[in-house]
């Protein structure tokens, strides 16, 4: 298991080079990217986090996924700081014996990262700065697990 909380950019291919295990036949990766707003004038996304809590919260979520889907490997990377549209914010990877478990575990990780990992996003445009509000759908998405 690898859990990284960092300001620096990451390289998905490099992260995948030593990921997985010999008896794992399926690897799923998901990469989250800073999306421009509807007005197409986003200059940056600022991501704040709770340094003491972030690593432990992410590790706990990753460990839950590993136990529940018998993952041979699991990776979570989440960035913080000031990011521009198009930059990668975060990624998860799961390695399981078969694809269903790998896909499900990745979705579980994403659902929990959305509303149980202590990050807060702020959208910066030329004339405004606005905190991104949590969506009710993100909270209710946890119920399926």
């Amino acid at each position: 298991m690898r859990v990284l909380v960092q300001e620096a950019a990451f390289d998905v291919a490099q992260q995948m080079r030593d990921f997985g295990a010999p008896d794992m036949g399926a690897i799923v990766t998901f990469t989250g990217v800073v999306r421009d707003n509807d007005a197409r004038n986003l200059t940056a996304m600022e991501i704040e986090h709770y340094p003491g809590m972030t690593q432990s919260a992410l590790t706990r979520i990753a460990a839950q996924a590993q136990d529940r889907w018998n993952l041979g490997d699991v990776l979570v990377i989440h960035r913080y700081g000031r990011l521009r549209p198009g930059e990668q914010i975060m990624m998860v990877a799961t390695a399981a014996r078969h694809r269903k478990a790998a896909f499900e575990a990745a979705e579980f990780l994403m659902d929990y990262l959305k509303s149980r990992a202590p990050f807060w996003k702020k959208e910066i445009t030329a004339d405004a700065a606005e905190w991104v509000a949590a969506r009710d759908e993100d909270e209710s998405a946890l119920k399926r697990w």
Partner: protein
């Protein structure tokens, strides 16, 4: 104890963390004390349904006891991912 604020809670209160002497038994009691301090706290804590709390870096409820707690953090619902 140390009290930490994140995101718009930090912006409204104006500091990221502070040391607080409290007699409160629960998080809700601490919130009441803070609200009574100054307008900026009253504004930040006006709607508890818009806030989350962590005690010693674990998510908790507002009726949780503060006994033995060293660090309390207040923040809006998280928006990771």
């Amino acid at each position: 104890m140390d009290v930490l604020y994140f995101a718009w809670v930090r912006e409204r209160i104006g500091v990221p963390r502070e040391s607080v002497e409290t007699q409160a038994d629960t998080v809700a009691g601490l919130v009441e004390e803070l609200r009574g301090r100054e307008e900026r706290y009253a504004v930040a804590f006006s709607d508890l349904s818009a806030l989350r709390v962590a005690l010693d870096q674990e998510l908790a409820e507002f009726d949780a006891p503060l006994d033995g707690v060293r660090e309390v953090a207040f923040f809006p619902p998280m928006t990771g991912g």
